[in-house]
Symmetry: C2
Subunit: 201 residues, 2 copies
């Protein structure tokens, strides 16, 4: 992606937080008949790979070869930015519309997992992450479902991991604007109930 | 993308609304060195193409050849769905976590526009769309900026259009669940301040 230095996200903490807070990634790969793209929830496993699973009926695991290069795109908060919102605009009128957003691009090679134990481990990790944050002490657990039902569900998925080769991230949040203009944007985001892109502004 | 019949979005009105309400698309293409992906605001122009622009410094217009195949991915509302939320879960316990979301995939061929008049037209259309909905009668207009400043900004972008060859859309919103379970999901989305995926549920 286009990544000017002032929009480059170099904070490992911010990158990890965006991936953890916005798990629904787009996995993009190149198949024989063109680009294939699917929205799939992912999470980090150790520091060097992403894990997830798809339906057995999802052709992604047939279209992409074992070890194929993929790009997983995570998208954080985003907002249209009107020139009207910059205090400096009233003085100079030198402002144009833009869009602010934060994204993380993870490149790597995909490996598919068909073993039931591997698949259960992936489902268990994703479930624990999402249920703990969603329901706390009332978290749903895989053991809540009948064993034969759950075994059937596991049979109908394919697990995968993505061995990470590169992470690039962009936080486009008006870093090229004055502190006063950026503070005004933060107020606008609050007013729209949108997440500020750079919380400490 | 994986598109089971019951999640296939066939409503042209819903597809148009998702694209108009969520303009920040990911444009994905295949370059000589791998997949290139950029988040870029887009809008429909007539019924058969998307329009947008990138910074002159954005290599996308050099990496992708004139007429290259691209995929533009628009993402609508999305939410993690806990099995705990289904009323039927208390009876059968036959439920697992999932993720609901709505996406539109637009495939087509990209053409780049370097003529200042073409670029101004694209910027003007995008500006009008976003400013009208954002600021109404107080919409910012290109004429609000000094002419030489605006000319310099136009010089620093490249316009493009995407001639559409295929649109596919997915609304994954529990259509495979009972009415009671879907109604309970709608209440959860309201409670989280999230947009319902199927408003009429």
């Amino acid at each position: 992606m286009y990544l000017p230095t002032h929009f480059q996200e170099t904070s490992a903490a911010r990158i990890s937080a965006l991936v953890a807070d916005h798990p629904l990634a787009v996995i993009v790969g190149q198949g024989a008949d063109g680009i294939v793209a699917n929205h799939i929830p992912l999470m980090m496993d150790r520091d060097d790979r992403l894990i997830g699973h798809v339906a057995l009926n999802n052709d992604m695991h047939r279209i992409l070869a074992e070890g194929a290069e993929v790009l997983a795109i995570f998208q954080g908060p985003e907002a249209y930015i009107s020139p009207n919102w910059y205090p400096s605009k009233a003085d100079t009128h030198k402002a144009v519309p833009t869009w602010n957003y934060a994204v993380v691009h993870v490149r790597g090679t995909i490996g598919f997992l068909h073993d039931a134990a591997d698949k259960r481990r992936i489902v268990s990790r994703l479930t624990k992450m999402m249920e703990t944050r969603t329901n706390g002490a009332d978290a749903w657990r895989m053991g809540d479902a009948p064993a034969d039902y759950l075994a059937g569900m596991i049979d109908n998925i394919v697990g995968f991991d993505i061995a990470i080769s590169q992470i690039t991230a962009k936080t486009k949040a008006g870093q090229n604007k004055s502190d006063a203009d950026r503070a005004a944007l933060a107020v606008r985001m609050d007013g729209q109930g949108k997440q500020r892109l750079i919380p400490e502004v």
